[in-house]
Symmetry: C2
Subunit: 256 residues, 2 copies
């Protein structure tokens, strides 16, 4: 991904890079900055101010500057940040200087889509293998990859040096798959199954639950509905929503 070799790019030659330990909140935003930076690079920008990058990434500029300051000082006062240099920096910190191989387990409805999602490839990842426990699915070819039986995981994981696994199985199978991934040497898991995984220390798990996202939105819908019902209460615990859940006219919110 960092095809830019910027003059002055800070790759330490031989030395082992000092990886600063970043606040988790910062880490979660870096990919967002990176995407914005790639857009800027494509549209010909050489430098960008914190204000500009912040708005492109949808955050506050002070927050952005503080985030970037954790990586070191790679901006120039009075000018801004060098786009290509910053891309290299962030990609280095995120460990994207080499393409990482990912194993995807579960090629059902969702897994099938993930296998074909090109957003992974374009942002530094390679889906190196597909697995499923269902024998009737084994052998199927998706996007140029053949689905293998999940029992082959250990061998393939070693061969392809896979360190990241994606679980897209039903919830009931997820823990078992997680165990298999861990046993195969995988140390990071992205879990799409709606369940809690328990893994040993040293293994990172991130979870994406599509229904939960909707439920959070549902809460806000509920709240908005109850607020529009009573206009002006300054009271902290304003509350009581009068007269049931009557949905207010949706047209209301389209002000701006």
């Amino acid at each position: 991904m960092s095809q830019h070799r910027h003059p002055g790019a800070p790759d330490r030659p031989g030395a082992v890079p000092a990886l600063p330990d970043l606040p988790e909140a910062t880490v979660a935003r870096l990919p967002e900055y990176l995407r914005a930076l790639h857009n800027l690079a494509e549209t010909g920008h050489e430098t960008v101010s914190s204000e500009g990058l912040a708005s492109a990434a949808g955050v506050n500029s002070a927050k952005l500057r503080k985030d970037l300051s954790h990586l070191g000082s790679y901006g120039t006062r009075g000018v801004g940040y060098d786009v290509a240099l910053l891309i290299d920096q962030i990609e280095y910190v995120l460990g994207l200087t080499h393409r990482r191989s990912v194993a995807l387990v579960g090629v059902g409805n969702l897994g099938h889509a993930l296998a074909g999602y090109d957003g992974f490839a374009t942002r530094g990842f390679r889906i190196a293998a597909l697995f499923d426990a269902d024998p009737s699915r084994v052998g199927e070819e998706i996007n140029g990859l053949v689905v293998r039986h999940v029992d082959e995981l250990p061998g393939v994981a070693a061969e392809e040096s896979i360190a990241i696994g994606v679980i897209a199985t039903p919830a009931a199978a997820a823990q078992r798959v997680a165990d298999q991934l861990v046993a195969a040497g995988v140390t990071s898991i992205l879990n799409f199954a709606p369940c809690v995984l328990s893994v040993p220390d040293g293994v990172d798990v991130r979870k994406v639950d599509l229904a939960i996202e909707l439920q959070i939105l549902s809460f806000h819908e509920h709240r908005k509905a109850s607020l529009t019902a009573l206009p002006a209460t300054g009271g902290s615990t304003l509350t009581a929503l009068p007269g049931g859940l009557a949905v207010t006219d949706p047209q209301e919110a389209i002000g701006t």
Copy 2:
């Protein structure tokens, strides 16, 4: 999905239940508790302790108690929480007492999978309409729903009283679709496109970016690799982490 009032539900008869304003972090965890509670209910548990529910939901028990305390006091000291009662409470707060209709825009690779994802239906949502801008896709039937052209959005949204929209289009089309959704009266958007959306006040947007999740994991892989490489360097401030933990904390400052 307990549709309505539990026998012992604490809704004051005539009065309308107070909707407390909850910390955002709490809101994000409630769906997790809800899922765990449904599992417990199915396995015959009538009550559950904070410790039990917390471990089922993958959180700390003190945090869980504080979260639930924001909803009011629905536990019994010395006993625990009534599972069915708590389910009703959380579903009420999340606005899940009636099934919400969702519009899905973009039935490409990912959208197709989302349209067929049964996790939405089983957790309180109904995909009420599918849209796409590509005429060659319009008319296609997915899971019993016919794909319509995105221009039909306003009419259909009103008809089906849709308040939540899901965007599964390419990034380039996402902002335009968001505008159309807002114009059609949608006030909550779940965005799968890798880009920042700007929407008027009063409209909530949540974003799910699959590649970002992988990039965050990549960072942790990178960090783990650099740590094992140099066991005990006096690397400045490295560390602060007790032991070599790698606990997963799904919660990370996801604001609106």
